[in-house]
Amino acid sequence: MIKALRYFIEIIRGSFITGRHFASNFFFRCLKVLGIKTKRKGAETIQYPEQRKEIASRHRSLHRLMTRPDGKPRCVACMLCVTVCPSECIYVEAAEDPDPEIQKYPAKFIIDLSRCCFCGFCVEACPEDAIRMDTGNVELAEYSQDDMIYDLDKLIR
């Protein structure tokens, strides 16, 4: 009985918590609408397209392929990223490079971003530091799934 009463009190308290949030936020939002500047904002919202949150330095965003000083991809088509990718969304086709020190380069390098889960394993696996996810681009919406398939041209930047 006492326990039930305690529940009851907690339930009432709950509505007071939400009520308190409502009242204080209401007050500060009203001040804002009236043009009065206050320290408290009354909302944590970031008005997205106009305001943007700073992307953390370790954030995993759109991939890019690194290049050698001469502009060729640094990737040696070892396919370790293909192997590790849990979404199986990378496809690499290797070709023979005339330079015996390089030997192998990617003739095709495709990431299907519509499958990618942005786990970053490909970056971890790469022995050549050829792929990174630090472009800061997180707005990858497209109208067609085909546009989500990124090839060498789109990935080298």
């Binding site: 339930i11 709950g14 509505s15 918590i17 939400t18 009520g19 949030h21 409502f22 936020n25 209401f26 939002r29 609408v33 009354g42 909302a43 944590e44 919202t45 008005q47």
Partner: protein, 361 residues
């Protein structure tokens, strides 16, 4: 002849006004819900709908929603019973909308030598009428679940029916005490009774005479609106509900019915427990304060004050219901049934007996 014409015209105007009031409230209740929930959760809420770049704190949002809903594909699954599938939302809508006929918005308005009741129809069994209409509303739910021909929708519909029927009992019983104190089923008389004073200063509102009845009625009525924490029939994101197979405007109708129910419940709470259009100590010629002193007002001002009081009270209850909806998590189904049958029904019985004992004393 002209007399009947006038009468008809007046009734017609009343119907239009009441419906417009109800629909406008519904529309803006969606806005209120969004904004209130946002404030509760430290957000801003919908504020982007704009006309020519003018946003005014998202007040155009309901129109944007409505336009979107109208232009969405109205998808009727090939396996559904087409006719019933289409009918179901209209049935729900009709039975909720019709209850507004019995609600008194104010006392009487005198224009010239004509007195107009600010109520579409003054039934002598208004209370029963409203209860009856509210219970008929569940046909919409059951039919929609059944006509969707989808087992999840059907189960959702059955859950809805079971819930609404269970809480109907508590709802009805909680009002018996009230009927015992105000010996009438006519809503206008119930409101009039509440204009009297208790101990010379306390208005005789239902909340003061029937506190337990109020609590039970509030909880049961919340369950009737099928919104959180009683939203098991829908269970939007987790347990599939009865309007799973609906889309576009028909789905919108179900949504509207929910909001309209909130408003109807608020008007009922106002009318039955908070004195309806009564303003404390305001008589038809002005204020008569219990500590002496008077403030005489003209008839039009008094009527306006009364209608405003009614609206403010309704608004308060809408606000309260939204607050509750955004505070509490959903019940488990067995808890829901326990709560209805093992708590609310006994409490309302206790209330009836208590009322009876006090009244005989």
């Amino acid at each position: 002849m002209t007399e009947t014409l006038y009468e008809t015209l007046i009734i017609f105007i009343k119907i239009v006004c009441a419906l417009v009031w109800l629909l406008a409230c519904t529309l803006y209740l969606t806005w209120l819900e969004r904004k209130e929930s946002a404030l509760i959760q430290d957000r801003v809420g919908a504020n982007r709908a704009s006309i020519f770049g003018i946003r005014i704190i998202g007040l155009f949002q309901p129109f944007a929603d409505a336009i979107k809903m109208i232009f969405k594909e109205d998808f009727v699954p090939s396996f559904s019973r087409k006719f019933l599938h289409t009918m179901a939302p209209f049935i729900s809508f009709f039975f909720v909308a019709i209850t507004i006929t019995a609600i008194p918005f104010g006392d009487t308005l005198r224009i010239g030598n004509r007195t107009i009741h600010l109520q579409i129809l003054d039934f002598n069994v208004g209370l029963l009428f409203i209860l009856a209409m509210l219970s008929l509303g569940i046909y919409g739910i059951i039919i929609s679940g059944w006509a969707s021909n989808n087992k999840y929708a059907l189960i959702g519909g059955m859950r809805g029916a079971a819930q609404v029927i269970s809480y109907e009992v508590a709802l009805g019983l909680s009002l018996i005490g009230l009927i015992m104190v105000y010996p009438s089923l006519r809503l206008s008389s119930i409101v009039l009774y509440q204009g009297e004073l208790l101990f010379g200063f306390l208005p005789k509102w239902g909340i003061f005479l029937q506190p337990l009845g109020f609590v039970v009625f509030l909880l049961a009525a919340l369950a009737e609106t099928k919104r959180a924490p009683f939203d098991l029939p829908e269970g939007e994101s987790e347990i599939i509900g009865f309007f799973t197979e609906y889309s576009g405007l028909k789905w919108g109708l179900f949504m509207m019915v929910d909001f309209m129910e909130v408003i109807i419940v608020s008007t009922l709470l106002t009318t039955l427990f908070f004195g309806g259009w009564q303003v404390p100590w305001l008589a038809s010629d002005g204020f008569h304060f219990p500590w002496g002193g008077e403030l005489l007002l003209s008839h039009v001002v008094v009527v306006l004050l009364q209608v405003a009081a009614f609206n403010i009270k309704v608004f308060f209850f809408c606000w309260l219901q939204i607050l509750i909806r955004w505070t509490y998590p959903r019940f488990r189904y067995d808890q829901l049934m326990d709560f209805g049958w093992k708590l609310l029904v006994p409490l309302s019985l206790v209330n009836i007996i208590g009322t009876g004992i006090i009244m005989t004393l």
